[in-house]
Symmetry: C3
Subunit: 266 residues, 3 copies
Amino acid sequence: MTVSPILTAVRSRTPLVHCMTNTVVPQITANVLLAVGAAPAMIDLPEEAEIFAGVASALLINVGNGSAEQHRAMRLAAAAAEREGTPWVLDPVAVGALPVRTQLARDLLAHRPAAIRANASEILGLAGASAGGRGVDATDTADDALAAGRELSEQTGAVIAISGPVDVVISGGRVTRISGGSPLMPLVIGTGCALGATVAAALGAVSGSGHSAHEAVVAAHALFGAAGSRAAQQTNAPGSFQVAWIDALHTLTPDEVATLVSVEEA
Amino acid sequence: MTVSPILTAVRSRTPLVHCMTNTVVPQITANVLLAVGAAPAMIDLPEEAEIFAGVASALLINVGNGSAEQHRAMRLAAAAAEREGTPWVLDPVAVGALPVRTQLARDLLAHRPAAIRANASEILGLAGASAGGRGVDATDTADDALAAGRELSEQTGAVIAISGPVDVVISGGRVTRISGGSPLMPLVIGTGCALGATVAAALGAVSGSGHSAHEAVVAAHALFGAAGSRAAQQTNAPGSFQVAWIDALHTLTPDEVATLVSVEEA
Amino acid sequence: MTVSPILTAVRSRTPLVHCMTNTVVPQITANVLLAVGAAPAMIDLPEEAEIFAGVASALLINVGNGSAEQHRAMRLAAAAAEREGTPWVLDPVAVGALPVRTQLARDLLAHRPAAIRANASEILGLAGASAGGRGVDATDTADDALAAGRELSEQTGAVIAISGPVDVVISGGRVTRISGGSPLMPLVIGTGCALGATVAAALGAVSGSGHSAHEAVVAAHALFGAAGSRAAQQTNAPGSFQVAWIDALHTLTPDEVATLVSVEEA
């Protein structure tokens, strides 16, 4: 698999990731990006976001809890990213369950995200196929969302990543499953949101290389799962798990990642 | 005491807690809710907050540092919670010391919070009895605020919880004191704010059960104190204390909680 | 050196630090202030910020990622601080690289900050001497910014602190260099921003004493470097480093600080 060279590329190229994310996770998102070797920059003012989306290596737009001002900035930044060729990732948090962000996320699809990372309920919500969940909870399984994910990939051209006990990455007829991680990961807020940011970092790092966007998305998921597996060897409680997991994101070698997760083409 | 079955109910029912909180504590609040077995959702946009307050198991409104847009959303959400019967908790951070939030918190009382959690200075500030403090510091003791707390409970119907070295919970002529915790807790930002969210989780978990709101508020305080006592057995510095405290919130059994704190009716 | 009595003064006087900071770092900033012995209060609403800047022991204005409403509040608070004699610190995050915050930071200089803390690129950006960097990255060295720092100090009367592998503090013809810390510090988000807040705490603590603002700024940098050196003796990964570093900020004695860093007058 191509996980190893992509993780090496993230560390050597230090992609600058413009993050527009929700109010809960900026700190852990930034710490995760630093741990994996990328450089975070949170910029949400409309005037500045529009400029920075054209300068950054990649852009993350996470539509979880934000302000009306930030939503305006997201629309400008997504348009700028499309115009300037900056790869960008959509994380449609709680889309399908809440109206403002659902409309926002669907509108943003027109600006051609390189990847969409979400749980199964959110993929169904984005595709218009779900009655909604309880917000950020995934009440559907990845396989429930497989058909919707395929269709969304065909419509938008984006790589679709569906997070769950087994992560599924879909694009162009290809389906890759990544197993690993730990049940403790959903007990640490922001692990999913920080994965969206790390997908952006990987896309920024492979830009201009021979690696595909699909491979970059898989590599980010493999690193996250491997760090979760490593941390779960050290603790069974969420406070110390978070610390061990961030340590592992920084210290695991690409070869260790390969031994800690399973990556399979369907 | 009824602490044990209520903590078990939080873990088995996974109450969905809609949190509208200040800019400093969303991450620790979410991590604490996940650690205790609840599900957090931070939603501050007016249109979405009004909807979600009617869907969630419980709502927290913490008037610490927020925006004008969030304040509008809080008014809508409190009204929706009252209308839909969602139990909600008011955390009047620095009320009495700062004018905008003081007016906001007093206005919100009309929507009948199920509980109000605060330090003594804030209870006095909410009741209009204090000259204000230095903001979030409690310069008054819980006993200074006892009379104001009783009166506030009678006026609003809310359970009043006053945090301090000994926590005091007041409602309907009943006064319960919870001892435990650690002097390190005030050195970790957000332990008080996360307690407000956990009170909401406990209220959501007992809804429809035979347990009273008073008992739910006491149970949340007992768990917090017990986790503080346990963490203080492991470290004497605030960084590692935070980690150990979140671990303890997750791993303490309800029976262990009973051995680590003292709960007494006055 | 005067580091030891100033750190003791912070712990004994508990200066109340009004923080207006970016969306990424409020939690770590508050935890750091609590760890060093100060009291944090984040207040960003215009009406409340203007009042509180006149009440607090010191004010921090960090122009990293914020909202238009917060920017209005910063202008009011800086004016109030100048009017009421509250010492205040400017942290010009990514100034020079992004237009809105660059204009804001330059405008705020008119309100006479007591100190400006930044990396070299930001000092150059504030002085108008840089073509900008990639945002928060320092692409220039402290020595590149020495002349700009001197000039900025002369123009504004502020103590200028330039963070880097060796920190440089400049004012009134005096140049002090502080060595210590760890390469892991830039891998924990907010260590620089929290240093700005700790500079404010130190300025608040020396107010009315015989110590100069220059000495207060140096003391804050010495404590940060010493805690970084201590934490780096315990771990080589960023998650556990953050925990150990906050522990060290709280537990190091002033005398231990003196053994862990080198403070030299040029």
